[in-house]
């Protein structure tokens, strides 16, 4: 009988680079930058790492395929290293590989690293793949972009709950303004400037109704974690252990875009993965029990509907909670306290690990000017792909044994 991952593995150390337009650094350099911080934080030596996982999404524009870029950049000692790719969940997938490997007893200490170098394309936004998206996809898939597919949640959500375009636009602006306010306090964030709701609403349209400030930063960056068992961590003299409480994944099966039911108003996968994660972590009422959340705010509308799919806001009531300040830094469950994808930035393969990094800092009381008071449980959420077909990962971490 499966018992889940709760508190079977703890985080020994973490590292994260400054995200942004890192013109001076290649993906290989960013991996080392995050790793050096992580290794120092863990207090172990590199040779104690027995296996490693690399998460990266677009190898063709950054490090190339296979896990060799990690093994070579970190000069690992010919240990097993695996590359994982699962859209925006790639970083969390690397973490899941390392955590499961420790939990299985196959290894004592494992490394999970994520990296993305997006700013070598020569243009804004995510890379365009053309026929390299797959020979069949290319023939029939519409001329879509990430903002264009996520933007459609707005039309679906407004139609479903009979909400005016203006009310939704204002709530989306609040989502972004809140993240900008948080990002301003984070020295590692890509975008560190407070922006008002009115500025956000007046910005040029990227994909109707999303404006420039409804879209997250496209960034370079890397983050990593070293994990082990609670016993080994204690034997290494670690106190205040941060335990992995849940790791869940849910993928679309074609239902959303193929069967006449889904109304483009929510994420089927997030709704399922979050429930499973609460069960795995022993959480009964997430609205009361979660201290903070880092969600996949690739676009403001994504964050807005995700609040309902995490079963924190009731269906159709996310706007009420958002406008009421529930998710602000001073609210009941601060969301994107580090700035989120919106302002910390979104180097795809690194993002899941970056979210865990913030939870880890907050739980250890090391988050500086944005430190929350006595957080106990934090949730991370990645959403890769498009609303109509996607990969959702959920992670929950918290103080070990609580």
């Amino acid at each position: 009988m499966a018992t889940g991952i709760r508190d079977k593995v703890v985080i020994l150390g973490m590292g994260c680079t400054r995200f942004g337009e890192r013109w001076e650094s290649g993906a290989e350099d960013l991996l080392v930058e995050a790793f050096q911080e992580c290794l120092q934080d863990s207090g172990i030596e590199k040779k104690q790492i027995q296996a490693a996982w690399l998460g990266t999404c677009f190898p063709s524009i950054s490090v190339g395929q296979s896990a060799l870029p990690l093994s070579i950049s970190l000069r690992l000692d010919n240990i097993p290293v695996t590359r994982v790719e699962n859209f925006c969940a790639s970083g969390t997938e690397a973490f899941r590989g390392a955590v499961y490997a420790v939990a299985s007893g196959a290894y004592d200490i494992c490394l999970a690293a994520g990296v993305e170098k997006l700013k070598d394309t020569g243009y804004g936004g995510l890379p365009e793949f053309g026929s390299e998206a797959g020979p069949r996809n290319f023939l029939v898939q519409p001329n879509i972009t990430a903002p264009g597919t996520f933007a459609q949640l707005a039309s679906g959500y407004c139609a479903k709950y009979n909400i005016s375009d203006g009310d939704l636009k204002r709530a989306m602006a609040h989502v972004s303004a809140k993240s900008h306010a948080n990002g301003e306090k984070n020295p590692k964030a890509h975008l560190r400037k407070a922006v008002s709701e009115d500025q956000i609403m007046a910005a040029p349209i990227i994909a109707h109704p999303l404006g420039l400030f409804d879209c997250c930063g496209v960034s370079d960056g890397s983050a990593c974690a070293i994990v082990t068992t609670p016993e080994i961590a204690k034997s290494l003299g670690k106190k205040d252990l941060i335990g992995v409480k849940a790791l869940q994944l849910s993928l679309s099966n074609g239902y959303e875009f193929g069967y006449n039911e889904w109304e483009v108003d929510h994420f089927v996968t997030t709704s399922i993965a979050s429930k499973k994660a609460y069960e795995e972590a022993g959480i009964k009422d997430p609205r009361k029990e979660l201290s903070m959340i880092e969600v996949h705010d690739c676009f403001s509308i994504t964050e807005l509907v995700t609040m309902e799919d995490l079963h924190i806001s009731k269906r159709g009531e996310a706007i009420k909670d958002i406008m009421g300040g529930f998710y602000d830094s001073t609210g009941q469950i601060p969301c994107q306290i580090d700035g989120g994808l919106k302002c910390f930035g979104h180097p795809i393969g690194a993002s899941g690990l970056r979210m865990l990094y913030e939870m880890y800092l907050q739980l250890l009381g090391r988050a500086g000017p944005r430190q929350l008071k006595d957080p106990k449980l934090g949730l991370t959420h990645n959403l890769g792909g498009f609303p109509f077909m996607n990969v959702c990962s959920i992670g929950i971490v918290g103080k070990y044994g609580m």
Binding site: T121, G122, Y123, G124, G125, E128, F129, G130, S131, E132, P135, R136, F138, L139, V140, Q141, P142, N143, I144, T145, P147, G148, T149, A151, Q152, L153, A154, S155, G156, C158, A159, P204, I205, I206, A207, H208, L210, G254, Y255, F257, G258, Y259, N260, E263, V264, F388
Partner: protein, 484 residues
């Protein structure tokens, strides 16, 4: 009895106001004033002779037995492929059978449309063919600020020919074939090269057309008095069109409208387009002459029958002309026909290679918009995959082909995307749900963002999805467009 059993037409929604050309380029070519009146059919960036042909052919096949069609002839001077049978693409896009079907392209002359009709009639009379689809379409490439750009219009016409339920009986024909060259386009050229209009008038139109039509009357023992309408194109001007009529003894009222003010000359398609426009007003017993003008002329005589009253309703030529949006912005034509070099940005440089093996494997889905229907739970679905999409079914290998191209749908979600590479930004796309089941994420075309709403009725239309400049390959697929 052999003759026409159905007709269909299509004209691009966009109509170029000819004055827009003069407004933009009159400083350079003031002579354009001579032909700058009225409007002409203008392809959007994702339309070409092939997409126009598919739309006309599908209109023609409305309510007809598609499975009975045993030949498809496509006539045009502006087809996308020199070596890949264009009529084969048309047949696939009309979702016709593959086995037992003959396809042929009739090209290289404005009279190719009528020649295709004559060939179809010969095949019906002489062989075992029962139903032949003849479609003619043209969207001629023309140089900027030249008369061809004003005279020619983009459009398509389609006729179904057969032996049963004939609505216009074929009574006879007379052809002249000669190497008269008003203009030509070499195999490696992008545009036509034309000779002086006065010579085209004096030695071409006013000699060859009367010779063909008089020959037809003589051969069939028909008096012009018994003919209701005489149809022939003439792109030079309305006045010269009338002069040709006088030379054969036909007054203005006997001449069919050459559609110059509202459509322009649609090349191979034009005699057929004018014929359909005439058939829409015709009465049983009307005798109609249809003549073309190219390297010679084909003149054909038809007599309308009682069966025309029973033809299922269709868009036709008048319906096509009625769906219009005036285009005053000449630079759109320049960009969409690749007549100016506009910076498209690095994002537009993505590779656009077509895997011909994948296209072959998926040809029904891509060209025919064919999905599946589960025989176990009855769920229509697109694309057709081996396992049923219905969450309470998921049966394996239970699906039969289900065509979606003609199904009405509604918008479930949408956006107007300024980031996506597009020559008509914003790129509009969204989730389309078919009323009878099934849904698909689709590009939208021929619509403005302001009119799109969740719940808006849409229909599908066959369009250019991409053009691979490096390999000179047009990729086609179906897009959604507001129901008009």
């Amino acid at each position: 009895m052999v003759g026409i059993t159905a007709y269909g037409a299509f004209v691009p929604r966009r109509r170029l106001n000819r004055m827009a050309v003069l407004t933009s380029m009159g400083w350079f070519a003031p002579g354009l004033m001579m032909s700058a009146q009225g409007e002409r059919g203008m392809c959007s960036w994702d339309e070409d002779a092939m997409t126009l042909a598919v739309a006309a052919a599908r209109d023609c096949l409305t309510g007809m037995d598609r499975n009975a069609v045993d030949a498809v002839y496509l006539a045009s001077t502006s087809l996308p492929f020199k070596d890949r049978q264009n009529s084969g693409i048309l047949a696939a896009a009309a979702n016709l059978k593959e086995e037992g079907l003959v396809t042929a392209d009739f090209t290289s002359s404005n009279k190719s449309g009528t020649t295709a009709i004559l060939s179809a009639i010969d095949a019906l009379k002489g062989g075992d063919k029962k139903s032949i689809l003849v479609t003619a379409a043209d969207a001629k490439p023309t140089r900027a600020a030249w008369f061809f750009q004003l005279w020619f219009g983009d459009g398509a016409a389609s006729l179904l020919l057969g032996k049963d339920k004939v609505i216009a009986e074929f009574k006879g024909s007379h052809s002249i074939s000669c190497d008269f060259v008003p203009s030509y386009r070499g195999a490696n050229a992008k545009f036509d090269y034309g000779w002086e209009e006065r010579w085209i008038r004096d030695e071409g139109y006013t000699k060859i057309l009367p010779q063909a039509i008089k020959g037809l009357l003589e051969k069939t023992g028909t008096s012009l008095n018994d003919v209701s309408k005489v149809i022939f194109p003439c792109y030079l001007s309305k006045r010269i069109h009338g002069e040709i009529g006088k030379l054969i003894g036909a007054g203005r009222d006997k001449l069919a409208d050459n559609l110059q003010e509202v459509l322009g000359d649609t090349g191979s398609a034009h005699p057929l387009a004018m014929f359909i426009n005439t058939l829409e007003d015709a009465k049983p017993g009307d005798k109609i002459i249809v003549a073309s003008f190219g390297q010679g002329s084909d003149a054909l005589l038809f007599e309308v029958t009682d069966a025309i009253k029973d033809l299922p309703a269709r868009r036709g030529m008048k319906g096509s002309l009625a769906v219009r949006k005036e285009e005053d912005n000449y630079s759109k034509l320049l960009k969409w026909r690749d007549l100016i070099d506009v910076d498209m940005g690095i994002r537009a440089e993505a590779k656009k290679q077509t895997a011909l093996s994948a296209l072959w494997r998926n040809r029904k889905m891509v060209l025919g918009m064919v999905g599946g229907k589960c025989t176990k739970c009855g769920t229509p679905q697109f694309p057709k995959m081996r396992m049923c999409v219905n969450p309470s079914c998921h049966a394996v290998d239970t699906q039969v082909d289900e065509e979606f191209a003609h199904k009405p749908g509604i918008v479930k979600s949408f956006t107007g995307d300024m980031l996506a590479v597009s020559v008509e930004p914003p790129a509009i796309y969204g989730l389309v749900q078919f009323e009878s089941g099934g849904r698909t994420m689709a590009d939208f075309t021929d619509c403005e963002l302001g009119e799109v709403k969740v719940g808006m009725p849409v229909q599908l239309t066959f369009r250019i999805k991409y053009y691979d400049e490096d390999r000179d390959f047009y990729g086609y697929f179906w897009k959604a467009t507001p129901k008009r």
